[in-house]
């Protein structure tokens, strides 16, 4: 199978890179094993919330100088300030073009509310989500009504109400039920976000809920709901607003993340609409490299029929997605065996406190300044690496997972286009 570019990994990074390349006319295939980190997304993408030493960051671009001192291997440092600025400016239009509406920009972080009712700094937030410019001070409403589905345990109205009250918003918490949800109750493990979202794909069910909101929200100016809407339809909230006749906003739930799945589906659809090939449920097993050049890639489903391409992008994610594998004595990247830096002593991979910085979370593939993967210290000239499989950053502690995935994917795409003199 011959393509211009093979992208290994169909999560956020792989899709962003793929979309950029197919739009520039490259023939791309994405080989995806299935779920990605988007499936438990918060509904926002973070850019940079803190430096490695723990000091909080409000304006990510201004912190890059410090970041370069504290984490010289950080992917942002490899990008450099100028490239970061240029890429950041592209992102909102990029997502809008792909049919994913977001709010926010890279100059200053805004705040999203977490499922536990805490405020967390972030970069981009999906449309319809409840977010604000500062974690303190007044909110634009006097009174809010939080609704949850009776028996849905992955949304914490009380936690959220607790925090809103602190900010001067009067809150009422309502549980609702509908006949259409009853079948989910028959098997108690069915009452989960993605299943509920399927019920609300139906117009009649949305309208029925809209009526419940209208009748029970009293004089609340805003209705807050768990994010279990719009799996495949973009107008779900608009419909609720129309029937309920007031402002309706979403708050994140525990995984699975309906907005994350929706984003994944939307990006995938857009990639395919632009002519990309998306192979779902396949795993790249191994590759053949000759003279520092990837020549063939083999997948599980296609056995000994190789994928051949000018360029290969590795966007397989971190441990969770099995882009990295840990064994008692070693950490490795399973497709190419790329260089990964880690301490030999297993006990140094971890901190005793779960909530402290964990060294293993910064492990990842080493690259040159152009995000090309290395093996035995030597660069592979047509293998590019993007997203969470990269080393040198801590997505949790620095709050930079979304940013690294999106920006390195765009940078890699740009590099391939520059090299091939296209776009």
């Amino acid at each position: 199978m011959k393509f211009d570019t093979i992208i290994i990994g169909g999560g956020l990074s792989g899709l962003v890179c793929g979309i950029r390349l197919v739009k520039a006319g490259r023939r791309c295939v994405i080989v995806s094993a299935g779920q990605s980190a988007l499936h438990f997304s918060s509904g926002s993408f973070d850019l940079l919330n803190a430096l490695p030493d723990g000091s909080p960051v409000e304006c990510p671009l201004e912190a890059l100088g410090q970041l370069a001192l504290q984490a010289p291997e950080h992917p942002y440092v490899k990008l450099g300030v100028e490239r970061m600025k240029a890429l950041l400016a592209e992102v909102p239009a990029f997502f809008a073009g792909a049919g994913v509406a977001v709010e926010g920009q890279g100059v200053r972080n805004h705040y999203r509310m977490t499922p536990l009712g805490a405020w967390h700094p972030t970069w981009l937030t999906l449309k319809d989500f409840f977010c604000c410019g500062s974690p303190e001070g007044k909110l634009p409403w006097r009174k809010a009504a939080i609704f949850n589905i009776a028996g849905f345990l992955d949304f914490y109205a009380e936690f959220i109400a607790g925090d809103l009250k602190k900010r001067g918003v009067e809150c009422s918490v309502h549980l609702f039920n509908m006949d259409a949800l009853e079948h989910l109750r028959k098997n108690p493990s069915e009452m989960r976000s993605a299943n509920i979202a399927r019920v609300f794909e139906k117009q009649e069910n949305l309208e029925r809920l809209g009526e419940i909101l209208r009748d029970e929200a009293g004089d609340a100016e805003v209705v807050l709901l768990p994010a279990v809407f719009g799996l495949e339809r973009a107008d779900a909230l608009a419909c609720l607003r129309r029937v309920a006749n007031r402002k309706v906003m979403l708050l994140p739930t525990l995984p699975p993340s309906v907005p994350g799945i929706r984003t994944q589906l939307q990006l995938k659809k857009y990639f395919q609409d632009c002519g990309g090939v998306y192979m779902l449920g396949d795993t790249v097993m191994k590759a053949e490299v000759e003279d520092g050049h990837v020549v063939r890639v083999y997948s599980y489903n296609h056995g000994n029929i190789p994928f051949v391409a000018d360029d290969v992008v590795l966007a397989t994610g971190s441990f969770f997605s099995q882009g990295l594998i840990a064994e008692p004595g070693r950490v490795y990247e399973p497709v190419f065996g790329l260089d990964v830096k880690y301490p030999e002593e297993r006990e140094q991979w971890f901190d005793l406190n779960f909530f402290n910085r964990q060294a293993y979370q910064s492990f990842g593939v080493e690259t040159d300044g152009g995000f090309r993967g290395m093996r035995g210290g030597k660069v592979l000239d047509n293998l590019y690496v993007a997203g969470a499989v990269l080393g040198g950053f801590n997505a949790v502690k620095e709050g930079c997972g979304g940013g690294v995935s999106i920006l390195t994917a765009l940078a890699v795409a740009q590099q391939i286009m520059d090299k091939r003199k296209i776009g």
Partner: protein
């Protein structure tokens, strides 16, 4: 009983909420004594909750310690009757591997028979058919009546019965002083970890059932009990690879018992002396993990491909014989010390040594002594009367909760025995699952909150298995915290703190084995709780 706690009088105060303390409280209460049980944390948090959960047949001790072996098999048979809902009758195999001496088998069988333990030599092929997970290289096998016992359930059930006979049970109450009047112990001063208040309680007899912490309690009373903390590390696997208990047929050594229990199995243990300063914070080292894996794979080779859920360690309270101050001669038998006879200190009794298997006998001997001191003449009935949960057979209980979904019915009967009946009034909303791995419903969580002295998520885990399954509390911990806060157990701030400590506690067990899928799970938990939920641990808490 009076309203003013400070002056409340009891016949006997028992310190320690492990199996022994709980069993003693039950026995004393059943014999009509006014009982107070004090536990500094939750029930079963010491050695009771940190062992194999092996219902010993006694075979393991038959060759080296005939007396312990006899005690074991007697108590084994008693527990099958009185605690049927805590016991799984699996039987066990003692395997001889090519590296072991087959001559030992004869000696072993003979010693078992002497102790009254049914021991049947099985043809290796037949043994493999009975237990396909066993090492196919085995050259000999002996079948014995080993089984599995759930120490949490056993302790909780004893506590429940003690309470129903009038005992008062206070968890999170730590003894800070043993009160004396001359050569007579009169009571204890305790610190209440929940309210931060200090209170005094008085009784004619104080029983020290503190396990390894009994060493310090004895010091508080002004006497010395020479204990030797011995650390034992274990690994829990995420699947139940074996149906029967697997042992090595050789002199007892490290990591030679594999016990199945519920949905998992456990390999253990190591054995190493540790200083007293470390007994509150046992960490499992990479070396111990490697040893457990190496030896475990010899019993059941498939363990090499089985995911490890967590590692943990407990501390055995070994007691040095009184006539050997050097501490070299260690007894694993039951030690009841009447400090009046031994040290001239009236009103103070220490019960230690022994094992989980003999907790009831230890309780019986202790209660006999307490009764003698109090001049009470009452017979022990704990060997005859079943514990709450074991009074009705599973089929009868099943009929009573027939409206629950099938998997929930099965797992709640397994966990609570006949007490599962309390879930019969679950509403459809209460049937919602909090924990999918272990099939724990909202109704079961509520039952535990209201009737089983649950103060936090870790307590809840002990009673319901929330967070004990393959995901190790990935999402169920958060759901359970939500239910607890909704039920008014605590405010949202405390709920978040509790969630953070629960996750940190789980990490303690995952860290030593964090590779492969466990590391994937850990990374996911970090992302979900820290990034998505914004949960962190306050400075105060992490100290």
């Amino acid at each position: 009983m009076g309203q003013n706690e400070v002056n409340k009088d009891f016949d006997v105060i028992i310190i320690g909420g492990g199996a022994t303390g709980a069993g003693t409280a039950r026995d004393c209460a059943k014999r009509g004594l006014r009982v107070l049980l004090l536990e500094r944390f939750d029930i079963a948090t010491g050695a009771t909750g940190r062992n194999h959960g092996l219902l010993h047949s006694g075979a393991r001790y038959a060759v080296t310690d005939g007396e312990s072996a006899e005690e074991c098999i007697k108590e084994n048979m008693i527990l099958r009757r009185i605690a049927s809902h805590c016991v799984e009758e699996t039987d066990g195999l003692f395997l001889t591997l090519p590296e072991d001496d087959i001559q030992y088998q004869g000696k072993f069988v003979e010693a078992c028979q002497r102790a009254g333990i049914r021991a049947e030599v099985i043809d290796p092929k037949e043994a493999l058919r009975m237990e396909p997970s066993a090492n196919p290289a085995l050259i000999g096998a002996v079948r014995v009546p080993d089984g599995a016992v759930d120490p949490f359930r056993l302790t909780a059930s004893n506590i429940m019965d003690a309470k129903s006979h009038g005992a008062e049970v206070l968890t999170y109450h730590e003894v800070v002083e043993v009160l004396r009047s001359g050569s007579q112990v009169t009571g204890v001063k305790v610190f209440d970890h929940k309210t931060k208040a200090t209170k005094s309680y008085y009784a004619d007899v104080v029983v020290n059932a503190g396990g390894i912490w009994g060493h310090r309690l004895a010091e508080m009373a002004g006497v010395r009990v020479n204990m030797l903390p011995s650390k034992g590390a274990l690994l829990i696997f995420g699947h139940r690879v074996n149906r029967m208990v697997l042992n090595r047929c050789r002199k007892p050594a490290d990591a030679d018992i594999l016990v199945p229990g519920d949905t998992i199995c456990l390999i253990g243990t190591t054995s190493s002396k540790v200083p007293f300063e470390e007994v509150d914070d046992m960490l499992v080292t990479s070396k111990e993990v490697d040893l457990l894996l190496r030896e475990g794979e010899k019993l059941a080779p498939s363990l090499a491909q089985t995911r490890i859920l967590r590692a943990y360690a407990g501390v055995r309270p070994l007691v040095a014989s009184d006539d050997d101050p050097s501490g070299r001669s260690v007894s694993r038998g039951i030690v009841v010390l009447d400090h009046a006879v031994r040290d001239g200190l009236e009103g103070f009794v220490t019960i230690t040594g022994g094992k989980l298997m003999t907790y009831r006998l230890m309780a019986e001997w202790t209660t006999d002594l307490v009764c003698k001191k109090l001049g009470v003449n009452a017979t022990c009935t704990t060997a005859i009367e079943p514990l709450p949960g074991s009074r009705e057979n599973a089929e009868e209980v099943n009929k009573k909760i027939i409206s629950l979904p099938l998997p929930q019915r099965q797992s709640s009967i397994a966990r609570h025995g006949d007490l599962a009946e309390r879930l019969s009034h679950n509403t459809p909303v209460e049937n919602s699952l909090v924990c999918e791995c272990e099939e724990v419903s909202v109704g079961e969580v509520k039952y535990a909150l209201n009737e089983l002295d649950v103060n936090n998520l870790v307590d809840l885990r002990r009673r319901t298995r929330v967070g004990m399954g393959t995901c190790q509390g990935e999402l169920c911990a958060c759901r359970a915290a939500g239910v607890m806060s909704r039920e008014g157990k605590y405010c949202t701030r405390r709920a978040k703190e509790d969630l953070a400590s629960f996750l940190n506690e789980r990490w303690k067990g995952m860290r030593p084995i964090a590779w492969g899928d466990t590391l994937r799970e850990s990374e996911y938990m970090s992302w979900v709780y820290e990034s998505v939920c914004g949960l962190n641990m306050s400075q105060k808490q992490s100290e």
